[in-house]
């Protein structure tokens, strides 16, 4: 499976706004490029990116071919409770990949 890089702070104060960053290795093939044999290269993109915090979905994105290869997202979350922050990427055929990190709220 593709390599995913995530960045979540390990320990934070309660109520603090933390920045999380996530990136996955993926070609995000647009479907508009022409291959060496003259026919279009079929589309293959990540269609949905989601982030859950303590089981609740707190951020998600619907993606289109205009998102660059190796899609990268940076956004913020309010540190409420210690728990797992989980990232899920879903591609055109419904295949998913996940990555997760633990956050400790003091």
């Amino acid at each position: 499976m593709a390599r995913a890089l995530i960045n979540v702070p390990k320990t934070v104060k309660r109520g603090e706004i933390v920045e999380v960053r996530a990136m996955i290795a993926h070609p995000m093939e647009t479907g508009y490029r022409v291959g060496p044999n003259g026919s279009n290269i079929p589309r293959d993109i990540i269609r949905r990116f989601a982030c859950t915090y303590g089981g609740e979905e707190v951020f998600w994105a619907d993606l289109h071919p205009a998102v660059s290869a190796n899609p990268f997202f940076a956004f913020t979350l309010v540190a409420s409770t210690s728990g797992t922050i989980k990232f899920t990427w879903t591609d055109d055929v419904g295949k998913t990949q996940t990555a997760s990190a633990e956050i400790t709220v003091s």
């Binding site: 647009t30 490029r33 289109h64 956004f75 913020t76 309010v78």
Partner: protein, 160 residues
Amino acid sequence: MHEGPLRVHGRLVGRRQLLRAGMTGLLVTSLPRWAIARPSLDEAIRAFTRGADVLDGRVRLDLPPLVENGNAVGITVAAESPMTAGDHVRRIAVFNEKNPEANVAVFHLGPRSGRAAVSTRIRLASSQVVVAVAEMSDGSFWSSRASAIVTLAACIEDLS
């Protein structure tokens, strides 16, 4: 040699008229298929807002004015909002003017986001305008636009 005007369906067609028709046909067929099929920027925004009015302001779209490589253009969209349960940004959408598809991405946020700010990297097929639209929890839409000059375009290069 016959030099007079042509007769098509009983109508006289002059040489200039014929030339003009030919040129238009050539122009249409030389355009890539997506250039005709894609909805305009305004149509795409209207589809997102379902016809609601879009106001200027409350959103900031950071886009480099001069882009060397259109394959990865870093953008940041931030909206002014307290991000509380009663008043927050529900969605942020990014649209472009000249790519094969008008949509770039739609981000869903909520009160647990803390701040309405998202960064990502996008593709730009040519020098164009990029628009960010934010939907607030009260149902209002706010937008910001920025334009970029692209030196190396995305989506265009062939692998052959």
